[in-house]
């Protein structure tokens, strides 16, 4: 399904882009002269070899014109009357590329091998994740009838390890007046006696958003197959001053110091995003606070609010009720206006249920505030995994393709690989995320590589198949290159102005980057998805590092959104540049500096698929040489199990 980013018909993209290597390869003119001169052949031969090294393929400078579907589409999202965006919809037929008609072979390749997705149809928000009696449970917004949003119910699946899932029957359907128009997002809370309750939003028969209570029918069933809705639902309706469609996504509850449970629910007042607070003892009746947990002007509706403690010193996760001097609290919200998830680190005051950010200049929802992920990533939700003492993050990864393609392929959306979330104890200012360690059980064979990558090089990485990979890499810019560039006054400081989005992508060369991997590339690199670092020189010879994913050339298809994603990433003194990439068919997840900056992208190559998908490492810097040390694993499928009664019986008695 197309996202809200406007799609750029290929009219603005020049034909030469697609044939860049034929336009850009250096021609052996000197070679021809040398041969004809004969006697001087040997002398010229040395020159030939030096300029015509077979392994170098120059990805030469092409300063991109402002063809951006990215920058203008972001502006388009924000504003409603930007006439300059009309050119995006120009249909003058100037385009040079043929429209790509999806066929079943290309479409079926897009399905992932080890990411959570239902067997078919539409999925969106993660719901009520929890661990109970040996099983990780995952619920999700699901349309059982189509590959587009609608008829929303709670899908359900279980796993022993967050990776190998078994689909179960639908957990809750829209069978009451108070959720007739949708069984929407909610969260689970464990009570003191070990039982659990679920709070979720229902869209009533009149389209009013209310909060409902549900609980397992049988707590002895580790699979929690059946759920009961409380007869007194709804337990919360929109309070005075809150519009009926601005009241959804209740959080997991946490214990206050007085022993009551407390939840927060996102909303808005005019354009101010807010988070309402309610206290309860029984999850049936509630006291609403007069004050809010927090609010930020001009951020719009806060969806899927999440609120949880993180340790300032330790790397384990914390139960949602934990508080104390060694703890900070995270407030996170999904911004309805922009479809970005933002969070901030701050301090929680239990006495009155309020929270303030450590840094108000990057408060929740402000454009410069932190995001879990700078790519396609929304409606995320964490839970405390009491099994292994971790806080785990789930997120809805939607499609970036057209709805026609989704309908044709019969499904839409994925979940990201679950990530652990902790406070970055080194910076104290941001979270760090990392794919759960259980994913390593999918690693099959691996190959280790160590190489120097000169400026302007693209090197094929010899791994067999390249659509299911786990890559861990370390990069270092050679000291001589760094010293030279830092000392060269003619190299302009650009760190302040640089952004991945506006940079023009991986083919634009700088002094100290970009360098990284081109994943899902075909042999001739006509389609590719670079995931890379860009190191920019800042004022006072400081360096600023950016981590980007460039999907602008990921596919020839012209009905797909192809942004350039990314952000800066803190690199502390003495740290090498590290990145991890998970490639799984139409999803690429990148993690920089151990998960300080993460980028999830959806890509839909038409050529770089099946056996034709390759991996390259590249360095597009003008002068700097980079050393790369990396390991590439082939990844097995997770063999996610379709629902069947036999399987359910088998695992029930396990």
């Amino acid at each position: 399904m197309a996202s809200s980013d406007a799609l750029l018909p290929i009219s603005a993209r020049e034909e030469s882009d697609l044939n860049e290597e034929t336009h850009r390869r250096r021609r052996p003119v000197k070679g021809l002269l040398a041969v004809s001169l004969g006697l001087l052949f040997i002398a010229f031969y040395v020159v030939l070899v030096a300029t015509h090294d077979g392994s170098n393929r120059s990805n030469d400078v092409k300063i991109e014109s402002d063809e951006t579907a990215t920058t203008t589409s972001r502006a388009r999202l924000a504003g409603v009357s930007e006439k300059s965006n009309d050119k995006l919809w120009k249909l003058s037929g100037e385009r040079n590329t043929v429209s790509f008609a999806w066929n079943n072979s290309v479409l079926s390749w897009q399905r992932t091998a080890f990411h959570f997705q239902p067997e078919q149809n539409w999925m969106n928000d993660p719901n009520g994740p929890l661990f109970y009696k040996g099983w990780y449970h995952f619920f999700y917004q699901y349309n059982p009838n189509a590959a587009v949003w609608g008829d929303i119910v709670w899908g359900h699946a279980v796993s022993k390890d967050l990776i190998h899932w078994v689909h179960l029957p639908i957990a809750m359907v829209a069978d009451q007046w108070y959720d007739a128009n949708g069984v929407w997002t909610g969260s689970a809370t464990f009570l003191d006696d070990g039982s659990l309750v679920m709070l979720y939003t229902g869209s009533t028969d009149k389209f009013v958003q209310v909060q409902n209570l549900a609980y397992p029918e049988d707590l002895n069933d580790p699979l929690l197959l059946k759920w009961v809705k409380y007869s007194g639902n709804p337990v919360l309706v929109p309070p005075p001053g809150i519009l009926p469609k601005d009241f959804r996504d209740p959080t997991t509850a946490w214990k206050t110091s007085t022993g009551k449970w407390r939840i927060t629910i996102g909303s808005k007042i005019n354009k101010t995003g807010i988070s309402l607070v309610y206290d309860t003892t029984d999850f049936k009746t509630y006291e609403k606070h007069d004050t809010l947990l927090h609010q930020v002007p001009n951020t719009g509706m806060w969806e899927c609010v999440d609120f949880y403690p993180v340790s300032k010193t330790a790397v384990n996760g914390l139960d949602t009720s934990v508080n104390g001097p060694n703890v900070k609290h995270i407030v996170k919200a999904s911004m309805d206006d922009t479809r970005f998830d933002h969070y901030a680190v701050g301090t929680y005051f239990d006495s009155n249920g309020t929270w303030i950010p450590d840094d108000p200049s990057i408060d929740v929802g402000m454009s410069a505030s932190l995001r879990y992920d700078y790519g396609k990533f929304y409606a995320s939700k964490t839970f405390y995994d009491q099994n292994k003492g971790r806080r785990i993050l789930w997120s809805w990864i939607g499609e970036s393709d057209s709805e026609a393609a989704d309908v044709q392929k019969g499904w839409s959306s994925l979940q990201g690989i679950p990530r652990t979330v902790v406070l970055d104890t080194k910076t104290g200012k941001n979270l760090v995320q990392w794919p759960v360690e259980e994913i390593e059980s999918l690693r099959l064979s691996s190959k280790q590589f160590n190489m120097e990558v000169g400026p302007g090089s693209v090197v094929p990485v010899d791994v067999d198949s390249a659509a299911q990979l786990d890559i861990e890499a370390e990069f270092e810019i050679k000291k001589e290159s760094l010293d030279k560039i830092l000392g060269d006054a003619s190299v302009v400081a650009e760190a302040e102005e640089f952004s991945c989005q506006k940079s023009g992508g991986a083919s634009v060369r700088g002094a100290l980057g970009p360098f990284g991997f081109s994943v899902l590339a075909d042999k001739s690199l006509s389609e590719k998805t670079p995931v890379y670092f860009y190191v920019a020189k800042g004022k006072d010879s400081k360096l600023k590092t950016f981590f980007c994913t460039d999907t602008s050339r990921s596919t020839f298809a012209n009905d797909v959104v192809k942004p350039i994603y990314g952000s800066s990433v803190p690199v502390l003194k003495g740290e090498k540049l590290t990145m991890r990439i998970l490639v799984d068919h139409s999803i690429v997840e990148g993690f920089a500096q151990g998960g300080r900056t993460c980028i999830t992208s959806r890509v839909y190559p038409t050529k770089a698929i099946y056996g034709a998908a390759k991996l390259f490492v590249f360095n597009n810097a003008i002068d700097a040489t980079v050393t790369a040390s990396f390991k590439v694993w082939q990844m097995n499928s997770a063999f996610i199990h379709p629902y069947s009664e036999e399987v359910v019986r088998a695992i029930s008695s396990a």
Partner: protein, 145 residues
């Protein structure tokens, strides 16, 4: 003729088009923003259906463009069946999904148009109109977010 129509259309990229679309429907005088969106979604559906009719005519008058017309047929079926359907449900409950559906409708129209060799599309007026209507509709849907 409510002030709502005028005020709303001022906030869209094409005030004139917006006015003409809404004023041509009697429901607009007493509609709220959701109601105005529903009117426009109906317009999208009607235009989509009309375009499918034109595609069918073109199969006979321009048989050499069959491949491109097939693609347009697929794209416009998506508009009329999937996008319109999603937009109609979502607009009342969770408008961001309606916005996505309307953006997609514009994309499907663009992709259909873009498939024809230069100057050979028999649908240009219709596809351009679809894109413009989707632009206007999207702007109004965003007011509900």
């Amino acid at each position: 003729m409510g002030n709502i129509v005028d005020e709303t259309c001022k906030q869209t990229p094409d005030y004139t088009l917006c006015l003409s679309l809404l004023n041509s429907d009697p429901r607009s005088s007493s509609a709220d923003i959701v109601g105005l969106c529903l009117i426009l979604i109906d317009k999208i559906e009607a235009l989509g259906t009309e375009t499918i009719g034109q595609i069918n005519v073109a199969y006979k008058t321009k048989p050499m463009l069959k491949r491109e017309l097939d693609e347009c047929n697929l794209r416009y079926k998506t508009i009329v069946e999937a996008d319109v359907h999603t937009a109609n449900i979502a607009i009342k409950g969770n408008p961001k999904f309606a916005e996505d559906a309307i953006v997609d409708a514009g994309v499907e129209a663009s992709v259909c148009e873009g498939g024809f060799p230069k100057g050979q599309s028999p649908l240009t007026d219709l596809t351009q109109k679809m894109v413009k209507i989707c632009d206007v509709t999207r702007a109004i849907v965003r007011m509900l977010l």
